[in-house]
Symmetry: C2
Subunit: 498 residues, 2 copies
């Protein structure tokens, strides 16, 4: 895994990459050279999503009105900055109104187009009528259509224009929006319940902690709020990915584990790189094994995130139990088949399940440096250290090096991360003990197959801060699709209105 | 009260003004024309303070080391801004150290030189040894020596340089500082208890609400956290000031109440203005009655804040029960004495108790427009609406007009206030109910003679959020001077270490 380019091989962590429709499958690898941040939650998929195709669950009646709210760009300072229009989706069809003190379900928008999260969050839509609840999906600033400075290009122009893309500002957006909305609807007394998955789950938990006067409770799904500093071991994420493969098949795990050396060996020569290009059906000639390795790691990590027991098209069209399927392919060849042939067959389950891809484009992204919001967030406050262990993971060994991470961020964005800020602002090493003392009304839900569960809250903290753990699953309740939403409820989740 | 200048007479509220040493007594009146914000807590006194003279309570052993901590200028965004040096005072003499989990007493620095608050907060110093506590007094950004951009002039240059002067940034400063300090001292497990008076008391309460993982409790003295929007009636402040005078003497109250018309009448002509100049021993010719009225209002309001039963030199050298003394003067003249003669004698108790002032300088401040930090804060987020009632106050009637307030702020600072932000960020109309549900470990202490008590928490909210009310007093426990500190303890205050 990149041993030939040690100078830049600082963070061999994946961009989990998603693409809406084959054959345009891109990797971010080239964007920042061989420098990598932590795996993404959702990548750029949402921005590219064809929502008409995604909205396949119309039986759930996912209908909403799209509105815009004028937001302050910097809530915590008074620079003379332009405001921006924050998009939010709202549905009041089932809301009983202020006189009934009917609840407001607020989904904390993630790093992507809010419509994509709305149509993929069946659970909220399914339970809203049961609670006579209003549903509001505010979009996260700097994503989707909620762009400061008038356009995505202007918002992502440089570090100065990006500087207001932080979790704290996003929470303040939610707070300002919901406060104004409630006032306008005379709904000040209506309880607000927060929902969110992945980064949005972190936002939901943090919002309950920081704005308890605004929201009475939160369901935080797959929210790795302990993935900062060294609260959990940095190997956790890749260990879980690896275990997801090992539990399906030890030989599959071993094949993947030895594949990195095989790729490196082959890539030593120009001829070898050409053979790899052919073997993996790449559209363009491979220039470095790193690009290929990133592409593979990305697939494995993402497969672990969406290893649902049913077919899904959450990010990519995939069969049920896709890791089992990948390993079945890898293991299915007769003895003597090359490691790389097996690997290609396996990864094709992920990248080409529908079989329509002729060749794979590993990237050569034409986006501007730092044009992606999550990269910026990872290089400022969302510093989640990740290592991979030689002994326990199927990936090559890597030790997180903060100093190098910092240097690379400075190189790419002209900014130094504040790696300790998130724990200062939201709590860190003693967070669970602290939450027990001062927190309340948060449900942390995790599936243990999900690699993000490693940084999640997996045990009950108190009577009102509880963990919902799905041992052999990775179904974040937030993302229960119809017809699976009923199975989410069977997990025992019932949001509390008080 | 300024009826002649109605156009600008938008906010006839006082700058409570303090000066360290006679005869330099200035008013802020001219600084912003006749526009006024809410009364200040401490005014510019701290900046001018002669700390050698103030440190009269050396028997308390107020000793500290002065250190500086490198702070991020904008904690919530990632603009490429310069850091600044935050000053803090620290004493570890009595601290038993991390192994004993000995507490850290953190005073939330107010809008002024932190040394001034340190030497005037005898209570913290007195109880620290009893709790084997470390004492830390961080200075509030943009005050004292904690100036961004290298100097006060640069920090106060314009709205852009001032924009990071907010309560949220100050709280984040405290959080970053104490987190770093604890880490460096291996004192992560040592509980932090917050202290603060007036604006610092608000910061202490808000910090406990927003950073419960950092501080286990707060003593918030004279903290008007309900003085926003219309949570408490806007007349509250001036009604309490007025009642403080009426309780001493109804005739005194009435004399003051009718004095405004007398001043207005006299000030109709140039000759009248000259007579007022002589009557009030002003150093310079009075140009408008507004200046004189502001000066008087300022004295009355401040007298209400420091109406201690013992002599004090907290801001000005004053006798014990100074309002009683003022009214004694006002009432002491034989029948037929003019109202203005009475008023001058009364106000001289406040402005010239030591008798060394030859003439009074009402201001004509030469400071730059908006050079004062509190004015900036009042024009951005600290919008505390204040009115005075014709029927219940001794001041002329005034109804707070937010629209005018906003316009004036824009005129003076080029900025529009966000009057609803504080309640969005920290809680508003339902704050007490909310605190009952989600808050803990805050003691709100107030003396009912203190006009700021009107916006304070005066009733127990829960078992762990309690109100300490001194009915006939205005002794904020934070500011108990030796030898009076023992009387503070007799009020029943004992900070909880857990």
């Amino acid at each position: 895994m990149g041993k030939t380019s040690t100078a830049n091989l600082l963070l061999p962590f994946l961009f989990v990459l998603f693409s809406s429709s084959p054959p345009l499958i891109t990797t971010e690898a080239s964007k920042l050279g061989s420098f990598r941040f932590a795996p993404r939650f959702f990548g750029r998929f949402a921005a590219n999503a064809d929502l008409n195709n995604l909205q396949t669950h119309k039986s759930l009646k996912i209908q909403y009105e799209t509105r815009y709210f004028t937001q302050v760009l910097d809530h915590f300072s008074f620079s003379n900055l332009p405001t921006f229009q924050q998009r939010y989706l709202i549905n009041t069809d089932h809301w009983l109104g202020p006189n009934s003190m009917a609840p407001i379900f607020l989904y904390c928008g993630n790093e992507g187009d809010i419509e994509w999260f709305a149509v993929n969050t069946g659970f909220v839509w399914e339970i809203a009528p049961l609670f006579n609840a209003m549903v509001v999906f505010p979009e996260h600033r700097y994503y989707g259509k909620s762009m400061p400075f008038g356009s995505r290009d202007s918002a992502y122009k440089n570090a100065a224009s990006l500087s207001y893309l932080t979790a704290e500002q996003a929470l303040a957006d939610f707070a300002a929006l919901i406060t104004d909305l409630k006032r306008n609807m005379s709904a000040e007394a209506c309880p607000v319940v927060l929902f969110g998955g992945s980064y949005g789950g972190m936002l939901a938990a943090w919002m309950r902690i920081k704005y308890p006067h605004i929201a009475i409770g939160a369901l935080a799904s797959s929210a790795p709020i302990l993935q900062f500093e060294n609260i959990v071991p940095p190997e956790t994420f890749y260990d879980i990915v690896s275990n997801d493969f090992r539990r399906e098949s030890v030989s599959c795990f071993n094949t993947i584990k030895k594949s990195w050396d095989a790729i490196e060996a082959e890539g030593q020569t120009e001829e070898g790189l050409l053979r790899l290009t052919e073997e993996f059906h790449l559209c363009r000639n491979l220039r470095s094994t790193q690009d290929l390795e990133d592409w593979l790691e990305s697939a494995y990590s993402y497969l672990a995130m969406v290893d649902y027991p049913y077919p899904s098209d959450f990010m990519m069209p995939l069969p049920g139990n896709p890791i089992k399927e990948v390993c079945r392919k890898i293991d299915s060849f007769p003895d003597g088949t090359s490691t790389l042939e097996r690997i290609f067959a396996g990864v094709s389950v992920y990248y080409n399940y529908t079989g329509v891809v002729d060749c794979f484009d590993l990237g050569e992204s034409n986006q501007d440096l730092g044009a992606d919001g999550w990269d910026w967030q990872a290089c400022t406050e969302m510093v989640m250290p990740m290592s991979s262990s030689q002994s326990t993971s199927m990936f090559t060994a890597y030790d997180f090096n903060y100093s190098s991470y910092q240097d690379e961020c400075f190189k790419h964005f002209g900014i130094k991360p504040r790696s300790r800020w998130i724990t200062t602002e939201f709590g860190g090493h003693n967070l669970l003990t602290d939450l027990k003392t001062f927190g309340s009304n948060i449900i942390f839900s995790n599936g243990l197959l999900d690699p993000w569960s490693g940084g999640g809250v997996l045990q009950n903290v108190s009577e009102t801060i509880t963990a919902l753990v799905t041992k052999e699953g990775n179904v974040p309740q937030e993302f229960c699709f119809h017809p699976f939403a009923s199975s989410c409820r069977s997990l025992g989740f019932h949001p509390r209105s008080h």
